[in-house]
Symmetry: C2
Subunit: 162 residues, 2 copies
DNA sequence: ATAATTAAGTCAATATGGCTGACCTAAATA
DNA sequence: TATTTAGGTCAGCCATATTGACTTAATTAT
């Protein structure tokens, strides 16, 4: 039965091939985040700061709760990072219409940093994407998307297609 | 000129589309590692232990230097993690032919854990891959591969095609 | 009007996984 | 014989996450 399965499994579904995918994910993700990490380090920031700046930049007036839902970290973890960014004037906080909520927005300084960090990654992806045809890129995006948990797919769609 | 570039840029190279890719990477990578993380937590281990177990499992008799080159962390960082795995008998250390080196191998206990952890990720990928044709999967793999830095591509090829 | 829920904040303790710097031993190689 | 390499270790530091407990203020539900 195990042999039968082996015979019926297409080559690209072999365990060996799948292990390559695991490694591709590990290596590519690490190298992808390495660029911004260097800039952040000089400012005394880490990857967590980048995430906050990225998502606040994407959607100005984001609330703290939104950010917590996207990042899936605790309030306490976010708090440290966010307070630093506010104190150093990368992010500005205002009270929402619902006065319990707070709206986060990037300052000019914050936008500049966001731009610097994102540009590295955008250039990297654009450079890669140019070498492939739309079929490959679509495959890439489709497979990545399906790796996201259902509940988080909703989140992804919400922030991109609302 | 900027307008001209905009006109010449295919739709899937738009900044907005590229930002989606950035987010896809973030969400998918996080969800992909979430499964094993839960099991590791029960054992008092973290993702770093997983990486060590994974690569030692892939290539028995791996040396410490090999592992350091793959993981790109410091000796001191590896040491803590590795010593725990040795102490708790997931990994066994023997002296190499070059008596300065050490060969790392998984014990039976280690193999069982490796299997448990990898199975989660392998199943996940296999399930996804089954829903797509080979064209998509190839696009996925090709693009991921090209996201790896040149020097690390060599490393990836070395451990997979040597 | 009051009770319950929600958004946000805070204090304290803990764990993981990285880092640097300094220094050591033993074995292999130049 | 001198140098390089593989590995180890001590100490301290930092970033990022966690849990638990508790508070305030505003909104919503009863």
């Amino acid at each position: 039965m195990a042999d039968l399965n082996k015979l019926l499994t297409p080559l690209f579904l072999n365990e060996k091939e799948i292990r390559k995918v695991i490694e591709l994910l590990f290596f590519s993700y690490r190298d992808f985040t390495a660029g911004p990490d260097k800039i952040l380090e000089k400012l005394g920031f880490g990857r967590a700061h980048h995430r906050v700046i990225y998502f606040v930049g994407k959607q100005q007036k984001l609330t703290i709760k939104d950010l917590l839902t996207i990042l899936q970290i605790t309030k306490q973890s976010l708090s440290r990072v966010l307070n630093q960014l506010v104190k150093e004037k990368y992010i500005i906080v205002s009270t929402g219409i619902d006065k319990r909520t707070k709206n986060l927005s990037l300052t000019k300084k914050g936008q500049e940093l966001e731009n610097e960090l994102s540009t590295i990654q955008i250039k990297k992806i654009r450079k890669i994407i140019k070498n492939y045809d739309e079929t490959d890129i679509n495959g890439f995006k489709k497979v990545l998307y399906s790796m996201i948990e259902e509940k988080n797919k909703l989140k992804f769609n919400e922030i991109n297609y609302k």
